[in-house]
Each structure stands twice: as C-alpha cells, then as structure tokens.
C-alpha cells in the first residue's frame, strides 16, 4: 500500500481511472483493517461472532465508509491526517450500524406500555430486609414527589426520551430515530428535561445525593 500525503490522497481520490481505483482500494483496505480491529478487540458484545462473520461485517462497513468519505471529500479541512479523518467517518458508520442492529426492534410504545415504571408503594420485595418505618415513609413521600415532577415538569416527549435513555439505557441514536429527530436535538431535549427536573427537585429541597442515598441499598 502506498503511503500518501494528505494532498496526494485528495488528488488520487479525485483522479480518474486506475489512479482513483487504486486510491479507493487502499483506503478501503485501511479502513477495513481498522474497523476489524475495533470489532474484534473492543466489542465484547460481538464476541459470539466468528472471525469470518466479523470480517464480513468489517468489509461492508468499510465499503459504506469509503462511499461516505468520497461524498464528503470537500469538507476535509486538512486539520489532521487524511486517514484519521476517514477513520472518524468509518467509526461513525460502524457504530451507527451496530446501534441500529441492537435496537432494531425497539419502540418507545413498548417501553412505556408496561405502565407505571415506579413502584406503586414502598413495599419491600420478599427476602429483602424491610426498611425502617421512617425510611419507608420517607421513600414513599419522595416517590410521590418524583411521580408528580415527571407528570408536571416534563413534556410527554421529554418524559419518553428521559425514560428510554436514562432508565432503560437505550442509545440516543435509536431514540432519536423513534422520535423522528436527530441526536443533537435529542441531546438538547434531554438536557432541558434533566435541568428542569433537577431545578424542580432542588426547589423542593431534594438534592440528587439525598435521593440517591434514599433509594440505594
């Protein structure tokens, strides 16, 4: 594989014929190796896949990444190695694919259909040591306040997003697709929801640390 300067990469990828084909091939190969390394070394969630399956996955991702790089060549500003910039694009392609696959069947309706996710009362589960009556009363009181806050302070959309991301641990990308928005807008929505809730609890004299301690074993 030829080592190219940034300018050479740009010129070769914009060239015609063999010159371009060779550059595309080199880039694809490089991204493929990087993605395969990441998938095989860093993704414990993929450890059930065979080497061949991972290689296929990396090939497909590298192929898509090269197309994405070519579409965006004009936006490369020369502020890093060209290949680092291409790796950034490839990582985005790869991770978005993995997230889509993981949450393929995810729907916000399913998440919230299981009804009230907060326990109805502070009754201890069988086998656990019951909290003292004072503590149980305190927990029940704060639970009510949390329930009220979720209903009063947040919009429906904010609640759905906060519940999916914060409680269920669903990826922001998957929730964004489900809400018909993008990651950045969702991030802002979550930020507003958290800030409003936090302010509300603080106004009620409930600090985050106090509430965490109250509900942790």
């Amino acid at each position: 594989m030829t080592d190219r300067s940034n300018d050479e990469w740009l010129a070769d990828l914009r060239a015609d014929g063999d010159m371009q084909a060779e550059a595309i091939n080199d880039l694809k190969h490089r991204l493929d190796r990087g993605i395969y390394y990441y998938l095989s070394r860093e993704r414990s969630d993929l450890s059930g896949l065979s080497e061949t399956e991972l290689q296929h996955m990396a090939d497909d991702m590298a192929q898509d990444s090269v197309l994405r790089v070519l579409e965006n060549l004009d936006s490369f500003r020369g502020d890093s190695q060209f290949t680092t910039w291409a790796i950034r694009i490839a990582v985005r392609v790869a991770i978005s694919d993995l997230r889509r696959a993981r949450y393929r069947d995810f729907s916000l309706d399913d998440l919230t259909a299981d009804g009230d996710f907060l326990p109805a009362s502070a009754n201890p589960v069988a086998g656990t040591k019951p909290p003292s009556p004072e503590r149980a009363a305190e927990q029940a009181d704060v639970l009510d306040k949390i329930r009220e806050a979720l209903a009063d302070v947040l919009t429906e959309r904010q609640f759905q997003a906060l519940y999916a991301v914060g409680v269920k641990g669903v990826s922001i990308d998957a929730v964004a697709v489900e809400l018909g928005t993008n990651r950045n807008a969702l991030y802002k929505l979550l930020h507003d929801a958290r800030r409003k809730l936090r302010q509300h609890f603080e106004d009620e004299g409930l600090s985050m640390n106090y509430m965490l301690r109250l509900f942790q074993e």
Binding site: E42, T84, T128, I146, D173, H191, L197
Partner: protein, 86 residues
Amino acid sequence: MYENIVHLIECISLVHQEGAIDCVSCDAQFHCWAEQAASGADLRAILPDVVAHLEVCPECREEFEAILCILRAQQSGLLDEPQESS
C-alpha cells in the same frame, strides 16, 4: 426494587454546564482531538469542555474511544499488512 428510580436520578444528575459543547461539534472535531490524544496530549487540560461532554454523553464517548483505539493500533503497527508467507 428501586433500580429504575436510581437510574433516573443518576441520569438527572448528569446535567452539565449550560453552553457546553454538543454532539455535533464533537463529531466534527473528533479526528483532531483523537490525534492529539493519541500523541499523548492531556485532553482534560487542553480541552476541558470536550472531556466534560464525553463524560455525560455515552454515544460520543463510544465513538471517540473507537477512533482512539484504531489510531493507537495503527501507531503500534497492529494494522500493518501481515507478511505474505503462504
């Protein structure tokens, strides 16, 4: 039994400062920052806003760590062509 509530409270606690950097600005700069980090720069010292965002945004963190992991593998020669021996 209070797992959901604990998750919720932890999530609310993750608010960071107003005006902090967002996901899109992060994504647009990751290649520069990853190169700096891979060459040993202390991001916490030079880019505290970015580090603050990575701490509260698991999505950006996952992507940044992936870029960094590939760059480091590349630096260590782990992505070089295997010797053709067959």
